[in-house]
Amino acid sequence: MNLTAKVRERILEAWPPKQLLPDEQPAYVHSYVYFLGILTVGSFAMLVISGVVLAAFGPQWWHVSAAGHFVNSIHFWSVQLFFFVMVLHLWAQFFMGAWRDGRQLTWVSGCVAFVVSIGTAFTGYLSQQNFDSQWIAVQGKDAMNAVGIGAFFNLLNFGQMYGFHIVILPAIVGALIALHLLQVRLRGVVKPYPLPSPASGQSVPEDRS
């Protein structure tokens, strides 16, 4: 028994390339709404690229260098765009009832990615080493302490917040986005709601969600 061949066959069976990268989609996939998800991924990619440059030069760099400040500005606007399109994507998927027909876990992974992204952005604001960071740290500490999280997640500890921001949380967000994309590709895009019959004027039966 060749284990390598077996693993390859299992992978191809579970994740067929044609399904991961399809060259056709149902005709109803025809709206700018479907562009919001990939815009979110694009913004995340830009966040990672600009974040890697900022991390490579160190946390002091952007305060003392015009080039560094520009890269920080790119990182800053990337996160603003990331959240803007991600929230629109989330609302759109809600209005489409995108969890129908066995896609519940796709919704769950997307929402968890959204929540972890908030933590990632929050630690980013704490890592800026400016007045905003100071204020957010001292304000946020009371909330963290009130529920016991502050005992091991200290907003006033720059080193800890920086580590969370540049490694731990983005890695989790990246993994969740990858899982979310995989779920979308493997299950396909949800069908439109059936319209109520005009003759009967009755609404369609409840969906299986």
């Binding site: 067929p16 399904q19 990268l21 060259d23 056709e24 149902p26 005709a27 109803y28 996939v29 815009l39 694009g42 830009m46 400040h69 520009f70 500005s73 800053f76 606007w77 990337s78 603003q80 765009l81 959240f83 929230v87 209005f95 489409m96 009832g97 969890w99 896609r103 519940q104 919704w107 769950v108 929402c111 968890v112 952005a121 604001y125 400016n130 007045f131 905003d132 960071s133 204020w135 740290a137 001292v138 304000q139 500490k141 302490n145 009130a146 529920v147 016991g148 005992a151 200290n154 006033l156 720059f158 080193g159 396909g188 069908k191 439109p192 709601y193 059936p194 319209l195 019959s197 969906d207």
Partner: protein, 318 residues
């Protein structure tokens, strides 16, 4: 497309689609947008506040913070976990305090850490201060309290001349010279360095310096940036920038009772947000809520082209 997808899409017209091209276009749009925004609008970078600035620009505030740390009336002195065993800022959800369960993991004794220890360092080359410090430490707790109270009373009548604070004479014993020496240390920048220093050479933990200025010094400065809790707090940002707009719901609760008035406000906001977040994640499984999009009908707008394409008797789409 595997068997299950083929079955799912049976009867639905498939159209050519280029996912990779779509991804590249999306990334291109993102690059153009963020580079343009970065070039046109830059990003905020208000310099951080230092303890030296507080001591130089608002020496009276510095002394009020310092005497509060020494006599135990300051917020952090009686804060509670994770800094100490106080109860001043301990919050509960019903009978449960997660804060107390977390324990004291970052021990802070404000009198020792923020006043006595820095002064000991100065006293190494200031014999007169060393004597005052020794007198203070040798005094009874009651005597210390009397000195501290007398100093606080005198400070209420103090005047500021430049960076000097003229404190009326009083029966505050060694506390007066101690506070004057601490202010001098603060103005020289020594407090910034001392509170950041630990047993290690490299430093990344700003807990102690931030806790020293977290009260009036930072609050007074934050007011001008609309940063206070009643001003939607940390959701805002210095300058005319959007800030953390995604925290709007979290910050919203702090604006209304009972969250804005309860001593357990933070814990209540966390509880509320935890319930709402779990609710959002579990929308597909919550009866009624998972049918809401169908009832709202926004989907008709999103899929309007598809519905237009469907002629009777195929009106029902898929």
């Amino acid at each position: 497309m595997n068997h299950s997808q083929s079955a799912y899409y049976r009867g639905i017209r498939m159209a050519p689609y280029d996912l990779v091209k779509e991804a590249l276009v999306a990334f291109g749009v993102v690059v153009v947008l963020v580079v343009a925004l970065a070039a046109l609008l830059s990003s905020p970078d208000e310099p951080p506040m230092t303890i030296a600035q507080v001591a130089q620009q608002t020496p009276l505030t510095f002394l009020n913070v310092a005497i509060g740390d020494l006599d135990g009336s300051g917020e952090i002195a009686s804060y509670g976990p994770p800094y100490n065993d106080g109860t001043g800022s301990v919050q509960h959800i019903g009978p449960i305090s997660l804060q107390e369960m977390g324990g004291v993991t970052i021990p802070i004794n404000t009198a020792q850490d923020f006043v006595i220890a820095p002064l000991r360092q100065v006293a190494q080359r200031d014999p007169s201060l060393a004597q005052e410090l020794a007198a203070f430490e040798a005094a009874t707790p009651q005597q210390r309290r009397d000195w501290e109270r007398a100093y606080r009373d005198a400070l209420a009548r103090a005047t500021v001349q430049g960076i000097e604070v003229v404190v009326p004479t009083g029966a505050y014993g060694p506390v007066g010279p101690m506070m004057a020496a601490l202010l001098q240390m603060g103005q020289d920048g020594g407090m910034d360095g001392f509170l950041l220093t630990s047993t290690h050479f490299y430093q990344t933990d700003y807990t102690r310096p931030l806790l020293f200025i977290q009260g009036d010094p930072l609050h007074d400065a934050a007011k001008q940036f609309h940063f206070l809790g009643t001003q939607w707090g940390m959701m805002n940002e210095t300058g005319s920038y959007p800030g953390q707009a995604w925290l709007w719901l979290y910050t919203f609760w702090y604006q209304i009772p009972p969250y804005s008035t309860s001593p357990n406000g933070d814990a209540l906001v966390w509880l509320t947000m935890a319930v709402l977040t779990v609710g959002l994640i579990l929308v597909p499984f919550i009866p009624g809520l998972n049918q809401l999009p169908r009832r709202l009908g926004v989907y008709r707008l999103i899929w309007r082209d598809w519905y237009r394409e469907q002629k009777p008797p195929n009106r029902e789409g898929a």
